[in-house]
Symmetry: C2
Subunit: 465 residues, 2 copies
């Protein structure tokens, strides 16, 4: 290990308490991008991040405005033209904390309990993002230089589908040029076994409103003579899947390749137990598309999920209302071969075709979609990542898929022509998007070491080859 | 017309502005029985009513506590043992005002616009209730006496199924004895044509919760591998009706008699137009059980309606959640031959039998139910009501049914052996249980005249026979 890297790692260790305190500070800002009420908090989080990057000693730190929430950009390009250039990606926005009453500690009062820190966004993505800034700070403090050229792009709209990042990346395409993207977002598959995420599902989303009478009616007086939008919505939603768990939307599976025997074999090798998964999720049983295993369903099969459904009286007690409207939010997870825009069209057409009589349908397709993503196995970033993870954890990482989506991956590939290597130290069981989200504190430090080693190894690749 | 009645009507006319101002005052109290937050307002409304009854000069005024909200009781029994005794019924509680953003004027700031007063509860049931107190006040002020013996029972739990009234009526059965009940709750079928309500549907209610994973999950990561409670709920709800609009619950229609040819003929005579009904409700089309007309569906056929359905993320923007729970509230409207308790059992059994795999079901039957009700055509109260309405409106009232339910009717019949004559001056189009509920101001005064004439006519029935 070179002296420079040694000093960086020593400094990071020295700063471990300060690193955790910084995460508490960062995660206490309720940067909920989906909720207009939190617009000022979003600006506060962007400002916090900008100041932190400046303090790290980076040459250039900027906020890049968008039509929505600003992105924070920074760069330090002094390793020379022959050195690799890496674009670090992450996001400082977080999911809404609802349902609030299910949190054991307040979502925006990050709380350390044993080896875990609880709070909205600590795992997705503030902890994994922040550690990259802490590493660059340590590198510049300890050695005065960096082994590679680094660019940082932290967006504020990942949790709302990265709505304006496409335009932003196109606008700044020249400055964002790099050899590949190294993503602090993502998350490993298990806390015990290192893994490298090589695929992510895509995303297509829409919202629907079923309308009946022009106003809420008394369900006693009017019940039975006009259609209840809640009944019609239930019929529509129930008609989106068949009894075998397959999506019934015509054309939904067009272009989707079935898994190869080799893929199925690789998945079976993974240390995944259905029983342990049920314990982890607390679900009473597994359920999904017939003919596929749990990991196949999560990583390689497309899905259609209702994320929210509501209408009528939902408060305490009873209210005998026949409501004028009923609503649902839908997202589809996509695999290679599916186009987000086309999938939204197909779902809309199916909903219109299966609409019960007596109501009307209002569809709002989301602008935000993403194609599925696959990282080439021999990608230089993947090769370095495997080496670093094996060094850190004593065993080579597993290649795993990701059920979720990061729309920006598709943007990086399409607009910048760049692949993305996931290098997050979050773990998939950390209740992101749910109450009591947590991040494992030791992995904050493991992540710091790994990122320092990654940059070092990438910068000195020529030395060994 | 006797001099006494003439003086009463003159005094009521003199007091018309004061009567309306009193309704504004009464309806400004947010006496929402369903919501625990409004407990103090409920007590305030009961106190207001108690004071108003005292001011009317009634001999006895009491609050009767229940395990829930108190009832207000009053009596004036000086017409002698040979004079008829009438028990006046009404309720001072109101429906929740949700959705608040659909009100054009604040629900608890009663606002007169033209001939209408807008506000939660003005039609159901504070206006129709209050006018009976104003009439007894005018009677006692103008004549010092009443033509009949009067008892008043105003409950505070009608909008939550009259949960504790059954026990209360049983407890005070002796004091509540009367010849029949005259109900200020109910409502006429049309503002133009007088009507006498001779039937009401019964009620059976339950709430269901579908549970999946123990906590909310990320729908990207987990979607497709565990069942989404929202999908399962939609399947359950969609399975409660068939394509012809019939309830699919086995046994639901057992004991239900089909309409007679005579009933169907009577209904066809009524001046009811489907087109006008669609305009009134703003529904895009009629919808209901195949083979029945709109009025048949509303008055003589049982129904099963979802009053509320919710789960997952329902706020602004998107949240890619696979929720741990999904909920629905169900009410059934019943016709003669159906037992509320039995219907709840049948619905529960059907939901359990049709529950999709991968989720569990939690059922909460409501304690509150009511059998359907029918008033005998030659009932003395009905005979007097017809005469008064014909005198007031220049034409005999139509016999009509009521789609809604008043559980207390069943209580009065079972516990006290009393029939109930509906004599409300609310109209069925006044958006009760919905935003912008209103009451027609002229009908406040017509109702006062009618109640004064009803009591007079009933007290002097012997004079004419």
């Amino acid at each position: 290990m070179s002296g420079g890297l040694h000093d960086v790692l020593a400094l990071l260790q020295e700063r471990s308490a300060a690193s955790l305190a910084e995460l508490v500070d960062f995660a206490s800002i309720p940067s909920v991008s989906a909720q207009p009420d939190h617009r000022a908090d979003m600006a506060r989080a962007a400002g916090w991040l900008e100041q932190r990057l400046r303090r790290a000693g980076l040459n250039t730190v900027e906020q890049w405005p968008t039509a929505g929430h600003a992105a924070v950009y920074a760069e330090h390009l002094e390793a020379g033209e022959d050195a690799p250039t890496v674009l670090v990606y992450g996001h400082y926005d977080v999911q809404p904390p609802d349902p609030l009453d299910r949190w054991k500690t307040p979502p925006f009062t990050p709380t350390v309990v044993g080896d875990r820190i609880y709070g909205r966004g600590v795992s997705d993505d503030k902890g994994p993002l922040l550690l990259t800034v802490q590493v660059v700070d340590a590198y510049l403090t300890a050695t005065g230089t960096l082994p590679i050229n680094l660019k940082f792009l932290f967006e504020g709209e990942e949790e709302v589908g990265s709505a304006h990042l496409d335009a932003l990346v196109a606008e700044h395409a020249e400055r964002l040029g790099a050899d590949f993207v190294l993503s602090a977002d993502g998350g490993m598959w298990s806390a015990e076994i290192p893994s490298l995420t090589v695929s992510a599902r895509g995303l297509a989303a829409l919202e629907l409103t079923v309308r009946g009478p022009a106003k809420d009616l008394h369900s006693g007086r009017h019940g039975g003579s006009v259609h209840n939008p809640l009944h019609a919505l239930a019929t529509l939603v129930a008609g989106l899947h068949d009894d075998s768990g397959r999506v019934t939307v015509p054309g939904f599976y067009d272009g989707v390749s079935d898994l190869t025997l080799e893929q199925r074999g690789d998945l079976r090798e993974l240390p995944f137990e259905d029983a342990a998964y049920l314990t982890q999720t607390g679900a009473p049983a597994l359920y999904g598309e017939a003919g596929y295993s749990t990991l196949e369903r999560q990583w390689h099969r497309p899905t259609l999920e209702i994320n929210g459904m509501w209408g009528g009286y939902t408060g305490d007690g009873s209210k005998t209302v026949l409501p004028s409207e009923a609503h649902a939010k839908i997202t589809c997870r996509l695999v290679p071969g599916q186009e987000p825009g086309r999938i939204v069209e197909l779902v809309q057409a199916h909903l219109q075709a299966t609409l019960p009589p007596g109501v009307t349908l209002d569809l709002r397709p989301s602008e935000h979609g993403a194609r599925a993503y696959r990282l080439p196995g021999d990608h230089p970033g993947a090769v370095v990542a495997r080496r670093v993870l094996e060094d850190l954890y004593g065993r080579p990482p597993l290649d795993v898929g990701m059920g979720g989506s990061i729309p920006v991956l598709e943007t990086f590939q399409r607009v910048l022509g760049l692949d993305t290597v996931f290098f997050s130290f979050a773990v998939g069981d950390e209740d992101i998007h749910a109450p009591n989200e947590f991040f494992r504190v030791p992995r904050l430090y493991e992540g710091q070491r790994a990122w320092a080693q990654f940059w070092h190894a990438l910068g000195h690749r020529g030395d060994h080859e």
